[in-house]
Symmetry: C2
Subunit: 342 residues, 2 copies
């Protein structure tokens, strides 16, 4: 194995890996300046659906343009590359979408998330959680290794709000090269204020933190991990999944989980990914897809901090690496997918 994943992952002995990706829309994503997902604000809602279509079909159906941030393609291109090279089965989960992709989906009965400034972010967190537990119980019967990613525009802001409600001083990342930390912190402060929550108030009530200031994806991933008990699971994402890790820990769910993300999140000086994951007591794996050497300028922009992570890209590539696929092979596949797209 070449050294594009650190630390070096354990030997891969799973027979039946499965990649899941949880898709949600929220009104928080539409607060101006919050999300860079989608070239135009009107496209934000389509981003998760577009990501799912791109991974599944290699093209988008609901819109002529695939999800972009500036001139950089969605990390879904890396997810597709890793899934194609490994042949791993995958499923997308509708967890409160406003726009449905034209592919088969799993559905855990969620409504789209609200605007956290209104103090009621997720209506039905308990139902989403219970449905996801049941789903996890079925999945563990046929899979022995599960990777769980997400595509939730605006999700780093809900992640920051939940982390503060849980009393964790972790900083979150952004799909913008310049993290709009002022706007996020202002939105989070308003949300916590409206919900009457001070820093750390919900340390013992993580489900209430989701309900007040989180997003539907968080309830789904937590429930999946509970239902998957006994099956090793990788949370595939950056600071959004770091917040889910905190929720899982504070819910007392005991499972064999670790987190895998891209080096663009791990090296983001405005975030505190590795420190926070380490403080929570879990292992983190960092994947370097080598985009600096890409011939595609939009992919090279990832090195400047655009996009960074999403659609479980880091985790999908992590498994590809575990299965023996090298960085160069992965990068060539990513470029091939981009060439077909544009």
């Amino acid at each position: 194995m070449d050294h594009w994943i650190s630390p070096e992952p354990p030997a891969f002995d799973a027979q039946h890996p499965l990649f899941l990706c949880v898709l949600s829309n929220t009104d928080t994503a539409k607060i101006p300046g919050i999300s860079a997902a989608g070239r135009l604000p009107a496209l934000i809602d389509y981003t998760p659906a577009g990501d799912a279509e791109l991974v599944t079909l290699g093209r988008t159906i609901g819109n002529s343009e695939p999800p972009m941030t500036g001139n950089s393609p969605t990390p879904a291109v890396m997810t597709r590359a890793a899934l194609q090279l490994t042949g791993m089965p995958f499923m997308f989960i509708n967890c409160g979408l406003r726009i449905l992709p034209q592919i088969p989906l799993l559905d855990v009965g969620a409504h789209p998330g609200g605007d956290i400034r209104n103090g009621q972010a997720v209506q039905d967190a308990g139902l989403i959680y219970e449905n996801s537990v049941e789903l996890g119980r079925q999945i563990r019967r046929f899979s022995d290794f599960v990777i769980i990613g997400e595509s939730v525009p605006g999700g780093t802001t809900t992640a920051m709000a939940v982390l503060q409600a849980l009393g964790i001083d972790g900083m979150v990342s952004s799909s913008f090269p310049k993290n709009p930390m002022d706007i996020k912190q202002q939105v989070v402060a308003q949300a916590l204020d409206r919900a009457g929550i001070a820093f750390g108030d919900l340390l013992n009530e993580p489900m209430r933190a989701i309900e007040y200031v989180g997003d539907p994806m968080m309830a789904c991933v937590s429930g999946l991990v509970e239902g998957l008990k006994g099956t090793p699971s990788i949370l595939a994402g950056g600071t959004q999944m770091m917040a889910v890790m905190a929720i899982i820990k504070f819910l007392g769910i005991e499972n064999n989980i670790s987190i895998a993300t891209t080096k663009y999140v791990a090296e983001d000086g405005t975030a505190s990914f590795l420190e926070t994951v380490s403080a929570l007591g879990y292992a983190a794996y960092v994947v370097d897809p080598g985009l600096d050497r890409s011939k595609n300028p939009g992919l090279r922009m990832y090195e400047s901090g655009v996009v960074k992570e999403g659609v479980g890209a880091g985790g999908a590539m992590f498994v590809a690496g575990m299965m023996g696929i090298g960085q160069r092979e992965l990068l060539e596949k990513v470029e091939e997918i981009c060439d077909q797209l544009f």
Copy 2:
């Protein structure tokens, strides 16, 4: 193995069986006299959702009463018994539901079916089919044996209409003890007339038969079987699945499929299950759950021809039998489930 399945099934060597059940609502089911599913007409729409909740949770959430036909419980009690005894994983597929069960679901993007007398029964058969093909492709990567059942009230009428459009003179079964063949034939004649189709006209266009006079489940199951290519699959049902078998054959889909049902369908003198399946060139397995010896009068009524089959009960019990579970053990589990329900 005791002899409650005939002919004796082949040795069971699958490592990863999976049970799927496709759920649809249609307006055809609401034509007076068509369906006995649901004690009251208003409950017809809830029947598939209630079946799915019962199998998954052992109780219904959306309504205080589980789906009943007269005093007989839904065949979902047999499905649950077989799934519990085998530990097989299972998933329900939303294929055009009006009422959603409160469980995790797969979703193939279908709308509820119309009233076939209007000549446009399924709006989006092509999309349902394509999504189901993609779903089948994912599933075959982690399952080596798939059982596909259905819960579609009114489905024997759409089955009859499709069979006639395909030029098959097969007779369909009914959840009523006295098959309302006059009403069904009248509805089917109206539907074919409105669509401008004579007997056998759509022999070469089975997807058009689904669109004009079928139901959404048919497009889903056909697509699944196409996507599952190479993976042995059991169609679990009575004359509705027999119609799907005809569609699959006429679409030219080549897969290793057979059909499994209860003896109540196979022995129904008003239907032509075994003859038609045999004429289509597929194997049929018949399961006798021994309900004549049940202490539960509602279950004993199955012997008089009430309900007969549904929710993949015959196929789920068939697999239980293949896995070495005996008739008595199954029956005791069914009775235990009924005792907990009522």
